[in-house]
């Protein structure tokens, strides 16, 4: 049982929670996630740890309401308890001074991107963040991202904020302008697929954080499997981050629809 101590709406569909989880707050690193279950009949669903406060013993999750389980979670209020929460899961992001890093985050993917942006900047990288969403009100965490980035490019589908266009346009602009040593991308699978295709063309090494369907999150079931470099890998223990150019995104997109 983990108590919710803070709740904030980023938009109608995106909620930020601060949750008591002292052990997780103490051991988590950028890139880690937790598995959450709401209610005795609830399912186990993964969410990235967006940030943590080890002193206070809390972690932050940013949840996008898309279906039954995220909806259940978003209905909880400050003072309520999350039935089960386990973590930190997955491998932490590999952080070092690569040089120039482009962080391409789409939609709610900006939340898990934030700790990576922070850590990359801390390691001495020049960090260029490209944030994308359908419209202005879906751009989240802009201030925090700005605080830890050398430059921020914002792209909206409808042009209601920043530049009009897809995330790939923003990333391509940077690649054409200067040498990029690494690209990190987190967001909807289809977006990561297109970012990956773009950076492959320009031979920019790219890391994608995959959001497959999971059950246990400890390597026990194989529900989260994806094909990477022709081999079957488990996202929960081998990932969630992989060399994007090796990921079979079409298969992943197909598997994400298993229960729709």
């Amino acid at each position: 049982m983990n108590k919710i101590v803070g709740k904030e709406y980023f938009s109608d569909k995106v909620v930020k929670f601060e949750v008591e989880a002292p052990l997780i707050a103490h051991s988590r690193r950028a890139g880690h996630f937790v598995i959450v279950r709401v209610g005795k009949k609830g399912e186990r669903v993964p969410y990235t740890i967006a940030s943590a406060d080890p002193q206070k013993g809390t972690i932050t999750l940013v949840i996008q309401r898309v279906g039954k389980s995220s909806e259940k979670l978003c209905q909880l209020e400050v003072g309520d308890y999350i039935t089960d929460m386990v973590g930190p899961l997955g491998k932490a992001t590999h952080i070092e001074n690569f040089g120039t890093v482009v962080c391409a985050g789409g939609g709610v993917g900006v939340a898990p991107m934030l700790p990576i942006i922070e850590a990359m900047q801390h390691a001495g990288n020049r960090v260029i963040s490209v944030l994308a969403a359908r419209s202005k009100d879906l751009i989240i965490l802009e201030d925090q991202v700005r605080h830890h980035s050398d430059e921020v490019i914002i792209m909206t589908d409808d042009g209601s904020y920043g530049e009009k266009g897809l995330i790939t346009a923003g990333v391509e602009k940077v690649i054409l302008r200067e040498k990029v040593d690494l690209c990190v991308t987190i967001g909807p699978a289809i977006m990561m697929k297109f970012v990956s295709e773009l950076t492959r063309k320009y031979e920019v090494p790219t890391i994608a954080s995959l959001n497959t369907i999971m059950v246990d999150g400890t390597g026990m079931c194989g529900a989260c499997r994806v094909t990477v470099g022709g081999k079957t890998r488990f996202v929960c223990i081998d990932g969630p981050e992989f060399d994007a150019h090796q990921v079979d995104f079409d298969e992943m997109l197909m598997r994400l629809k298993a229960y729709n």
């Binding site: 051991s27 930190p88 899961l89 079931c221 499997r225 298993a258």
Partner: protein, 491 residues
């Protein structure tokens, strides 16, 4: 060679008297009891337990068959060396609670083992009846289950004696049978024991793997409750190596760690199409159904309910999956196995039950690839016909493909049950222990101690996929050895 202790027990007056009540010739003339079973037509649609248990009358009758041998070879077949004649003779004289107490002298989970032990390969394979008389053995497993169930239903569950607390903190990684057995013994010795479990419920495979119709979850709950009453503490949702590191445990003053983290990593065959929708590991399928109760319409966790379900493999896990699929409404529930039925590792009883429930067996077939529809859902699988060749190093005859002999089979769900590998979480995150090339933890088989003196391990993480009773046996051995090790350190 039996211990003096066993002989002294056997010499007790009541045992002597009981032996004299009936001639051995008459005892061996009694036919082995038949386990009352739920009707296959009905049970293949419910989760009720298939084996219904012996009545007191049936149990006493069966207990009469046991000859209370001078040299009870049955005990050598039991990995935890239960004093089998002592508990069986207690049943014969109607002292059922005493029988249950005898079981608990050595076994932490008798109600579980009485149900899931492969008795035909263990205790019962070494019974005098099997070895010398070439008759059906005493139904030791059924009797064990009877005594444990009787005690539970009587409400008079005995708690073993517990030594005064010595305040020494011990951590257990994993709440499967290995961890539970270890915890039970250590708390008896007076240690302050905490079991850490990664999942939100306790019991390991007993919870998420073995289905309700073979092992009702209520039984697992009661056994765990017993441990709780004895003072064992449980922390769910806590992954050692992730939530708490090895160093964290040391800093918190834990003086011993037992790793019973199991063999939870499912193997796939790596053949084309295996990642199509509707194809999953046996662990995923059983976890969804057992741990997450996906078949309950109230539950948020979904599960595919195929009409034509193929389960690949011939072990206990495969039988559990295929029988579960039948209960979830599969019209055709099939076992696909690359050798013949004779080589199947599953328990004979499980194969029999599966057959009765209408499971179809495709033996000597091996899947080559899968094909799906435009949405990526599995539709059919290509099977390779096999034949048996020369024996392999394990002594089983090797399956060999019959070139060109293939057939397509229509399926809408496939469950891959071709074995598990050791859970990599602990091997990857602990330092100071040695890992074998197979990914298991290296231990001294006498003491279950790893290369790090403070860390012991047992169960599937040491053996690869094994059995409940072997895991428990390891847990008990490790408890003995760790206790001795810590005491030596104190003085």
């Amino acid at each position: 060679m039996m211990s003096d202790y066993l002989q002294a027990e056997r010499a007790q007056e009541w045992r002597e008297a009981l032996r004299n009540t009936m001639k051995n010739k008459d005892r061996t003339a009694i036919p082995r009891v038949k386990m009352p079973e739920a009707d296959p037509q009905v049970r293949s649609h419910t989760y009720d337990e298939v084996n219904m248990g012996l009545t007191a009358e049936l149990a006493i009758g069966e207990a009469h068959r046991c000859l209370d041998c001078v040299n009870p070879t049955c005990i050598t077949g039991c990995p935890v060396e239960i004093n089998i004649p002592k508990f069986v003779k207690n049943i014969e004289r109607g002292e059922f609670l005493e029988a249950a107490r005898t079981l608990k002298e050595t076994s932490a989970l008798p109600a579980v083992c009485g149900r899931v032990c492969p008795q035909e390969r263990q205790c019962e394979s070494q019974c005098f009846y099997t070895l010398k008389l070439k008759k059906e053995p005493v139904a030791i497993g059924y009797l064990e289950r009877f005594a444990a169930d009787y005690e539970r239903q009587s409400g008079q569950i005995s708690l073993p004696e517990i030594a005064p607390s010595n305040g020494i903190k011990i951590a257990v990684v994993g709440s499967g049978p290995a961890g539970l057995a270890f915890a039970g013994d250590m708390v008896k010795f007076g240690y302050d024991v905490t079991v850490f479990e990664a999942l939100h419920e306790l019991g390991g495979v007993l919870r998420y793997g073995i289905p309700e119709f073979r092992l009702p979850k209520e039984i697992v709950d009661i056994e765990i409750d017993g441990l709780r009453k004895m003072g064992v503490k449980f922390e769910t949702n806590c992954i050692i190596g992730k939530t708490l590191s090895q160093e964290d445990l040391r800093e918190e003053g834990y003086q011993g760690i037992f790793v019973g983290s199991g063999a939870g990593l499912p193997n796939f065959m790596n053949i084309p199409g295996e990642n199509l929708i509707g194809i999953m590991s046996c662990n995923e399928y059983l976890t969804r159904v057992n741990l997450m109760q996906a078949a309950d319409p109230e539950s948020d966790t979904p599960v595919h309910m195929g009409k034509r379900v193929a389960v690949i493999g011939g072990g206990n896990t495969a039988m559990d999956a295929v029988r579960t699929a039948r209960r979830l409404g599969a019209e055709k529930a099939m076992i696909i196995y690359r050798r013949s039925e004779e080589e199947m590792p599953a328990r004979i009883e499980e194969i029999k039950h599966a057959r009765e429930e209408g499971i179809e067996f495709y033996t000597l077939y091996n899947p080559l690839r899968y094909e799906g529809d435009e949405r990526g859902r599995v539709q059919r699988m290509l099977l390779q016909r096999m034949q048996l060749g020369e024996p392999d190093p394990s002594g089983r005859r090797r399956p060999v493909a019959i070139e060109g002999d293939t057939v397509w089979l229509e399926v809408d769900e496939v469950i891959v049950s071709v074995g598990v590998s050791p859970n990599p979480l602990i091997p990857q995150s602990f330092s100071g222990i040695e890992i074998t090339p197979r990914g298991t933890i290296e231990v001294n088989r006498e003491t279950m101690q790893t290369a790090d003196q403070m860390i012991f391990a047992g169960g599937d993480i040491v053996r690869g996929g094994a059995t409940v009773i072997l895991a428990m046996g390891d847990g008990r051995k490790a408890a003995q050895a760790m206790h001795a090790h810590l005491q030596a350190g104190q003085s």
